[in-house]
């Protein structure tokens, strides 16, 4: 299908970010902590990038720390806020990195409470907790696109996983994490924000007061800032386009294919963030479905057990009570037009009916 990049979660670097990539490497190669001229220039560029992220994500620039490996932010944020004697509360639809922290916490006899979800993806039974307990909250669920309501009445510290968000998150939280790949920036770069440094202790071996270990690539940070700026500038146009496609696909799979379980509704699952759409077909082998669609030129993701290395179904779908078999997950993108989506839907209908 020509130049279109498919429905997988990953996306190529934003065209405007690509334009500045080489220049960013030319300008930002030096170590910003040294005192040479090139280093001073790099320090200015780093501070400007911090200002830009601060403006776009509505964060205080001095609360922002860049990570060369975004996933490290889960450990930094959660373990840094969490004392061994206190409880970690985590929604059952959290990312695997949160479960990994839970495992480490329980290994040293810490307590963790998993919070169930309902079909809408709402988190149930959140209690107030104590002042030093930690809640691992999620802004937008990366599998279903569902935006969680802000947690209410929690007395403790909050880590916000905003890795599927491209927006400012203005609710209550103490440490937060965004991921550059979400706005078509370089993948892997993390924006870690620490609003409450007094509640946080660096959980990594460290010698100085730096919050993150080492330096993330400055050229990639600069490129990411450009990508986010353009992503946000296009947000209204993207939302309009992708919303219409989201609605069209939901209608088609329900009316034209049937026996399908769709995660969330247009209201709950279309957030304007990278638009996710997750649905599962009864009596369908997802591995065959994904392979057949790929053979026809359509890349899709899946949360079904048979498509995972561990042969386990998506814990998010299972926690929400959604069907995990025959699942496909689409990320709708700016370049997806009606024609592309129509061809995809025709292929999907054909593949599903062949399997059934």
């Amino acid at each position: 299908m020509g130049s279109v990049t498919g429905f997988q979660a990953e996306t190529p670097l934003h065209a405007k970010a690509r334009e500045v990539l080489l220049a960013a490497f030319d300008q930002g190669w030096a170590d910003p902590r040294k005192i040479h001229q090139a280093s001073r220039k790099a320090a200015i560029l780093r501070d400007e990038a911090r200002e830009k992220f601060g403006e776009l994500l509505q964060l205080a620039p001095d609360s922002i720390h860049f990570l060369g490996e975004a996933a490290l932010g889960f450990h930094l944020g959660l373990t840094g806020l969490l004392a061994r004697s206190h409880t970690l509360f985590l929604p059952a639809i959290s990312r695997q990195e949160v479960f990994a922290t839970r495992q480490s916490h329980e290994y040293v006899d810490g307590k963790a409470v998993e919070l169930a979800s309902d079909l809408k993806g709402s988190v149930l039974d959140l209690v107030a907790g104590e002042a030093e307990d930690v809640l691992a909250w999620q802004a937008v669920n990366g599998e279903t696109g569902i935006r969680l309501a802000e947690p209410e009445g929690f007395a403790g510290r909050i880590f916000l996983d905003a890795t599927s968000s491209t927006s400012p998150e203005n609710g209550e939280w103490d440490a937060g994490l965004w991921e550059s790949g979400t706005w078509a920036g370089p993948r892997g770069i993390g924006v870690f924000a620490l609003r409450s440094p007094t509640k946080w202790r660096n959980p990594l071996p460290h010698l100085d007061s730096r919050v993150v270990p080492g330096d993330a690539s400055l050229p990639l940070i600069l490129t990411s800032a450009v990508a986010l700026e353009h992503w946000r500038a296009e947000q209204e146009e993207r939302n309009k386009k992708v919303r219409a496609l989201n609605e069209k696909i939901r209608h088609f799979v329900t009316q034209e294919i049937g026996d399908v379980d769709i995660a969330g509704t247009m209201e709950s699952a279309f957030t304007g963030e990278p638009a996710k759409l997750s649905f599962s077909f009864l009596y369908i082998d997802a591995e065959r479905l994904v392979s057949e669609l790929d053979r026809r030129g359509f890349a899709v993701d899946s949360g079904s057990a048979c498509t995972s290395l561990e042969m386990k179904p998506s814990h998010v779908l299972a926690a929400m009570g959604l069907l995990t078999q025959g699942n496909i997950r689409l990320t709708l993108k700016m370049e997806h037009d009606e024609r592309y989506v129509d061809s995809f839907l025709a292929a999907l209908k054909e593949v599903v009916s062949e399997q059934r």
Partner: protein, 66 residues
């Protein structure tokens, strides 16, 4: 009636149920044997989507009724 899906991976246990139900419309209660980890979440979702009721018994047994 017992539906034996032991050793089968998803989506086969749910397909086995659908086939058994279609072939035995006079029977209202079934027992499924399945050791696939996806069976319990999928069985509950299937029941919600198709108007059936299900119960998890001791592994690997599940009860299904209309």
């Amino acid at each position: 009636m017992i539906i034996n899906s032991l050793g089968k991976r998803c989506p086969q246990p749910i397909i086995d149920i659908a086939r058994a139900l279609a072939a035995n419309v006079e029977i209202s209660e079934f027992e499924l044997l399945s050791d696939d980890p996806a069976t319990w979440p999928d069985l509950q979702a299937w029941a919600r989507m198709t108007g059936h009721r299900v119960e998890q018994k001791e592994s690997p047994r599940y009860l299904i009724w209309r």
